[in-house]
Symmetry: C2
Subunit: 509 residues, 2 copies
């Protein structure tokens, strides 16, 4: 069989698996946005049936045959013979998925999908009722599923490394340990200095004066902002859900947010965060869907996109120079008596919180360190599920100086573990590091960047990301992609430097 026709056939199989995957995305989105309370079991059955079909599509024997034909036909660099580097990336990614799919029994895949759906509803209930004990069996089961999955893939001894690698190919707990260690070393003193500043108390006071912002106004304002920075609503939408997220890809990218009249900045920055994810998905190449050329480069890069827009860009002074008049036009009464400096301070308030998604960008990273430590210990067996609430409270006190009085604001706060998404959290903090490293690079490439923002022009950063990140798909690993885009290895020092500059100028002058 000629490699050319094998390659075409492989593309068709990958496209079919991709399309089935997008149906699964829709089931998941709809579950969190629209599902009637009584339909959870029906949705679980739908997830299970679709998971089986998807699994069959990616593990088709024909896929294996095609991969064998194609592997090893990569030409020498620059030659006209054999596969080019894009084709090689497609084959490599397809092999990764094929091997994972064929090593997992169908019955396991079905059961895990159904468990994930039930887990979501169990978590939502447990959180509402502050009932960790009722939720613990779900977590036990999810851990068991994760360990079994790693074992099927021959990674039974490195189950947590396997979970990390699922989200970010090549990532290991040892590498994360090293990066997080360095970050923690420099971040904790900075956080303490900021919290000791008299400005910190003023920032809290300003935040408390942002009250009674009507949801309709918030909705319109954040629509304006997210459109202005480049989200294409002809190829996506935004709705309301319990936990904000972004799903879908290409021409149908769906984001969610949640509104609180007394915390108007939460929905806004949450939406900008999801817009960063959405812009990435809308910017991935449309050709060869379902292949390494048109999928994202892993969750750390994905989170770097959301954090760049949410933090480096949307918390900048220049961003608010442009948007503040619009904000005041929507909320003239609510903003009465609050100056531009007050607003900027509220946007950049630093205060340790119990809830990760409400955290400022200085302390946010310590929330991730906490979760990374918990996950490592759950997988190593050092920590039992039943002991999680106590361990969580203790770690929270040590890292953030705060102890949750209930599990809703502690171990039950996050959605991730309910469907077994262990190993995901570290990508948030790695994303912060990547975002800061890209931002640092931009300052060199375009010193006047913030002047554009003051004019409401965000086309330069979007164009740069489209070319240097989005258009690359998954041709490279996250670490390689960062190296190529910034000219150096990933390091936490840019994040620390960025936080020192932005927050130092507010709190430490």
């Amino acid at each position: 069989m000629a490699p050319e026709s094998a390659f075409e056939e492989l593309l068709a199989l990958l496209k079919r698996a991709h399309v089935l995957g997008t149906i699964g995305d829709l089931l998941g989105w709809d579950e969190q946005v629209n599902l009637p309370a009584g339909a959870a079991e029906q949705r679980a059955a739908q997830h299970a049936a679709l998971a089986e079909v998807q699994h069959a599509a990616i593990s088709e024997a024909r896929m294996g045959e095609l991969l064998v034909v194609l592997e090893g036909t990569e030409g020498p660099p620059g030659s006209a013979v054999g596969m080019d580097s894009g084709q090689a990336a497609i084959v490599k990614q397809a092999r990764r998925e094929y091997d994972r799919a064929t090593k997992l029994p169908v019955a396991f895949v079905r059961a895990k999908a159904a468990q994930g759906s039930r887990g979501y509803h169990a978590w939502a209930r447990a959180k509402a009722e502050n009932d960790f004990a009722g939720y613990a069996p779900v977590l036990e089961k999810n851990l068991e599923f994760a360990r079994r999955e790693a074992a099927y893939l021959g990674q039974g001894e490195n189950a947590y490394d396997y979970m990390l690698d699922k989200h970010d190919p090549g990532l290991t707990a040892a590498a994360v340990d090293r990066l997080f260690g360095e970050l923690k070393r420099d971040l904790v003193p900075l956080m303490r200095a900021i919290l000791a500043s008299p400005v910190a108390a003023r920032a809290r006071g300003v935040g408390e004066r942002l009250r009674g912002f009507p949801v309709e106004g918030q909705r319109h304002f954040l629509r304006e902002v997210t459109e202005r920075i480049g989200f294409d609503y002809a190829r996506g939408r935004i709705d309301v859900s319990l936990h904000p997220f972004c799903s879908g890809t290409g021409s149908d990218v769906r984001m969610t947010t949640r509104y609180n009249p007394d915390q108007p900045l939460d929905a806004l920055f949450g939406s900008i965060h999801e817009t960063g994810h959405g812009l990435y998905e809308q910017g991935l190449p449309a050709a060869h869907v379902g292949t390494a050329l048109s999928i994202h480069a892993g969750m750390a890069v994905h989170e770097s996109q959301s954090r760049l827009w949410e933090n480096q860009i949307a918390r900048s002074r220049s961003f608010w120079r442009y948007f503040e008049p619009r904000w005041r036009a929507f909320f003239p009464v609510q903003m009465e008596g609050l100056s531009s400096d007050d607003l900027y301070l509220a946007v950049n308030a630093v205060e340790p919180t119990l809830v990760r998604v409400d955290a400022d960008e200085v302390t946010y990273n310590l929330h991730i360190v906490l979760r990374f430590e918990m996950e490592k210990k759950l997988f190593s067996g050092e920590l039992a599920v039943a002991d999680l609430p106590v361990a969580w409270r203790q770690a929270s006190r040590e890292l953030l100086g705060l102890e949750p009085v209930n599990d809703r604001e502690g171990v039950l706060q996050d959605v991730h573990w309910c469907d077994g998404s262990f190993g995901y959290f570290p990508s948030y903090c790695l994303g912060n590091m990547i975002a800061a490293q890209l931002w640092s690079r931009w300052r060199v490439l375009r010193p006047d960047l913030e002047a554009d923002f003051s004019q409401g022009d965000f086309s330069w950063p979007l164009g740069w990301l489209r070319e240097n990140i989005h258009a690359q798909g998954r041709r490279l690993s996250a670490l390689e992609l960062v190296r190529r885009a910034t000219g150096e290895e990933l390091s936490p020092r840019h994040l620390v430097a960025y936080l020192q500059e932005r927050y130092g100028s507010i709190y430490l002058t």
Copy 2:
């Protein structure tokens, strides 16, 4: 192989096919309620991929083997040997679906599904732009698909009978001709008498005074009504779409409506109509999903459920005795100067309209006769697609005394043909006949029925329908079901008698 284990295996295969079908329902619902404008092609690909998977599920060779084992094992009536009548109904329905699936090539099923999705968007555009010529190729293609489908099933010579049978097993154009002929004979004189009445002009005047009803109030009021008559919102929801519909089944039934501040009765009665469908789907037996025991008995019976709640019940004097105070509480300003009689007259206004979904229940049936005539002629070849607009205008003038000035209000008004759903329209009118025949039966069984309505109690009709219609699933054909439930053959005379009684008392006294 023992029939018992063959039967269990058949149930599992049918359930799997059913679950995949419910995913297709969700894709369709979401397409009309949520889909971003730019995602039509992506959705078409999803429909096509899922259709292929569904087709594979229902046409599995194993299904054919099981059916052969089970067929002919039905025991004599009342015996303890062999399948009971419920099991026999399951096997019969499975055979019907299996034969239809295995005789259609996969490529055809895929192409038809994709065409249906594209057709929807082409129709929406054509309607918005009043562009029949741009839409005609879609209709041509849909007719060609319908004819090819009938031919694959060996019904090439009776393609329109095949289309009717798809929606209502056993129905033929000849049978519809006979029933519609009798109905038309008695209905046209009644319509003319009503329109000649001085009350008709007063009814129009009242309708024109219903203006400026805020959408939020409409939304709350119709939620109250639909809940009160029995819709379970823990197992369903209502949203907004261009064309109102009801989809889904069991624990996830989704209805849609559309609001116009100047036609507040449209959203209300449209919603009650969809609630009738929804109550049926929520009332189908939950055991053995995907089998004849838990699916509806065809579209005529389905439409009878929607029409009963919309018309016989919700347009009754007693219904409004209960709900009028609530209505006035929501819309005190809008209802100023309008009496109870005015409201009742507006609810039962008779006036020929161009648009079917806005039609009153007297003239509605003539809209269906018109569409039935068009479909018959399109399939027989008497009428070319290009000549549809002219033929439509002429038939509209003859039957309704009105001629559309554009195609938006003529041939482009309905969604049905855009995805090839020919043969569906007659079930609306048959549904009206069945609804009136059930209503007539109720008047015998429970003479005080309307006294319940005045108290806001709709439990008796829902209970009766649950037992005599919903619980029956598809054990019987529509005509058998009507015979068992009412003690006589389906006849249009109950519909005529009902219309004479209700509208005669308003217009002809």
